[in-house]
């Protein structure tokens, strides 16, 4: 049905991300030996990708719509602490912990969205504010309630099975969640009408609104989604690692944005794909974890991460240019 020429594949937003992923995989398969590609070695980077990917896709949505959410950086540890305090310190049932934590996350996401929509202050600034607010509130509340900044949580077996356990020896259950959510997000962005609205918003918000798209509702919804996703990862981590502590969680901000950008989403919005972000996240996880399978000096790891990322992003740029200038070959010659 579709013209599946190489040209038409190359103009897809995820093409660069895919080739980047293949490149990184081959690189580490060569230098990291068979452990990197082995069943348990693959779990190493897939686990990291899953934790990152669940947040990266909603961040990608926001970026496609021309927004950004830094507050996820504080949301991950905040949710982790909330979970730890409610179900660990106070010993309430896991579901109560999950429910309340998700409720907090939804509230903060909603606050982010409302402020962005009402004030038109760039979301970078707004969420930077909420980032610190959430971090401060987490610290204050955990000391106020528990007198410490770290709590332990021993989840019952069923909760571990659902949110944080290992299968086949080393595969985290969160990988399944990640795959499921990715499938739903692919539908949302590429096959549902709402996906079109997101692209339109990223292209030109005013025109999108004039075309009848409920841009405000959609923006608020996106912020709630990113906040909830961050909270979900925080919850899973707490249940898996039996522990929660106040931390800055700043690494999540950079790591998700980097994954999204490797995935082919542009910082100015309007362009990108879920599958691209999916590949981008795997690429980033492989770059980050791959080095531990190699014999490179560990002190070089940041350098290698940096260079790999630059290569990936430059590849994306090239492919986007190709997408813009590409004219499909005449179908009937």
């Amino acid at each position: 049905m579709r013209n599946l020429s190489i040209g038409s594949l190359l103009i897809r937003p995820e093409a660069g991300a895919f080739l980047g992923m293949v490149f990184v995989f081959v690189f580490f398969a060569v230098f990291g030996g068979s452990t990197f590609t082995s069943f348990s070695g693959a779990a190493s980077w897939l686990n990291v990708a899953a934790n990152l990917g669940i947040i990266a896709i909603p961040i990608g949505f926001l970026m496609i719509a021309g927004e950004l959410d830094l507050s996820i950086g504080a949301m991950v540890p905040a949710a982790s602490m909330s979970m730890g305090i409610i179900s660990g310190y106070y010993g309430l049932p896991i579901l109560v912990g999950v429910g309340l934590t998700m409720l907090f996350a939804a509230t903060f996401g909603w606050i982010n969205g409302i402020i962005v929509v009402r004030t038109e202050v760039p979301s970078l600034i707004v969420t930077m504010g909420t980032l610190f607010s959430i971090a401060g509130l987490t610290l204050f509340l955990s000391i106020f309630l528990t007198d410490t900044t770290a709590v332990a949580l021993n989840a019952p077996a069923w909760a571990k099975a659902v949110f944080g356990d290992f299968y086949f020896g080393s595969y985290q259950i969160i990988i399944l969640w990640w795959l499921g959510m990715t499938a739903i997000y692919v539908y949302f962005l590429h096959f549902s009408p709402w996906g079109n609205w997101l692209y339109a918003m990223g292209g030109d918000k005013v025109s999108a609104r004039n075309a009848g798209i409920p841009t405000n509702k959609l923006t608020i919804g996106m912020f709630m989604l990113s906040s909830l996703s961050a909270a979900f990862v925080g919850i899973c981590q707490t249940i898996l690692f039996n522990s929660a502590q106040v931390s800055s969680g700043m690494s999540f901000i950079f790591n998700t944005i980097i994954s999204v950008v490797i995935g082919g989403v542009i910082l100015t919005g309007g362009f990108g794909s879920v599958i691209g972000i999916f590949f981008g996240t795997i690429t980033f996880a492989m770059v980050n974890q791959g080095i531990y399978f190699t014999d490179f000096d560990r002190n070089l790891s940041s350098l290698i991460v940096g260079i790999m990322l630059l290569i990936a992003v430059l590849m994306n740029n090239t492919f986007r240019q190709m997408a813009l200038t590409h004219t499909s070959p005449k179908k009937k010659k």
Binding site: T148, A152, S247, S301
Partner: protein
């Protein structure tokens, strides 16, 4: 509420100090400068400072607790806090010295104005240079040696020492100590520095440690330098042979660390007892200013105290009270 009263207190202090500086100071007004608000370790220091404050206030003095907001602009931030304290005309400053190049000149200037300096947590080596009274803290290297010895004595042969923020002098010193302590009993220790973008990222750190364990099956012990990293390592060990094959030790502690020591999945935690650092630095500084007391021991090491299965229950009691 607490914040508000603290603010009132500090403005009141400032007012008192203004008038007091003309006459002779009735009692010690001191500033305690501390690390980031996000750093859980400093909540334990603060607990010590808070308890000492009760004593200082009973003697008519005051304590102003100043923290950096984060560690991103560390040196300049600390100098700024020193200058803030100096401008408040305090009689003494208790401070950790992490960035000697930045802090030493500022502290020298403060000392030249007659302000008494007390060093805690870090900076034993420059105490004399800034005319510090004493040092309360652990020696990272000594603590590392203790950790390495402990692991080696308990049968470890090949240790990895995880560094979450490569290049940080105190962390590198810890792992250097581990290496030395291990060597004393015929074991080796290798450093595992992870890039800073994995700092506080439990999943990625866990997977990285696991990768190391899978790559080199002779590794039989892991030492981490922070409580969260120990959580990560515990999960990695569980997948790569279990706690019977790979021992786990860590610097610092958390409820989860203690729970693991209690149930036997972690060997030990090295505690530098921050409560004592905060408590002693504050109370000894005030006593020195008020009463001229001096400790004969210098430096005063508050650690390492090793927590293992033998003393876990008393440690847990201290944690409940927010002091460990």
């Amino acid at each position: 509420m607490k914040l508000f009263t603290n603010m009132l207190k500090s403005t009141a202090v400032a007012a008192v100090v203004m008038t007091a500086s003309v006459a002779t100071a009735p009692a010690a007004d001191i500033a305690v400068i501390a690390g980031s608000i996000e750093d859980g370790f400093f909540n334990l220091i603060k607990k010590g400072v808070d308890d000492a404050t009760l004593v200082v206030e009973a003697n008519g003095g005051s304590v102003n607790y100043l923290r950096t907001s984060n560690y991103d602009n560390f040196g300049p931030d600390l100098v700024q806090l020193i200058n803030t304290a100096v401008s408040q005309n305090v009689d003494g400053i208790a401070i950790p010295v992490w960035v000697p190049e930045s802090q030493v000149p500022a502290l020298k200037a403060a000392a030249a104005k007659g302000i008494k300096i007390m060093i805690y947590n870090s900076g034993a080596s420059i105490r004399e240079e800034v005319s510090g009274i004493n040092y309360f803290g652990s020696d990272e290297f000594v603590a590392g040696v203790a950790g390495g010895e402990y692991m080696a004595k308990n049968g470890a042969k090949n240790i990895i020492c995880h560094i979450q923020s490569p290049g940080a002098v105190n962390l590198e010193a810890r792992c250097k100590g581990v290496k030395e302590g291990a060597a004393k009993h015929g074991a080796i220790s290798t450093n595992l520095p992870l890039p800073a973008n994995l700092d506080q990222n439990v999943t990625a750190t866990s997977e990285a440690i696991k990768a190391e364990l899978l790559k080199d099956p002779t590794i039989d012990a892991v030492i981490t330098l922070a409580a969260w990293a120990s959580d990560a390592a515990a999960v990695a060990i569980k997948q790569a042979g279990g706690p019977d094959k790979v021992k786990l030790g860590t610097f610092d502690m958390s409820p989860a660390v203690l729970a693991r020591i209690k149930d036997g999945t972690q060997s030990m935690a090295i505690d530098q007892q921050p409560y004592l650092q905060g408590f002693l630095a504050t109370s000894m500084l005030a006593a020195h200013i008020d009463f001229g007391t001096e400790l004969a021991t210098d430096p005063v090491l508050t650690g390492p105290a090793i927590i293992d299965a033998s003393n876990i229950d008393t440690a847990l009691a201290g944690v409940k009270k927010g002091a460990r």
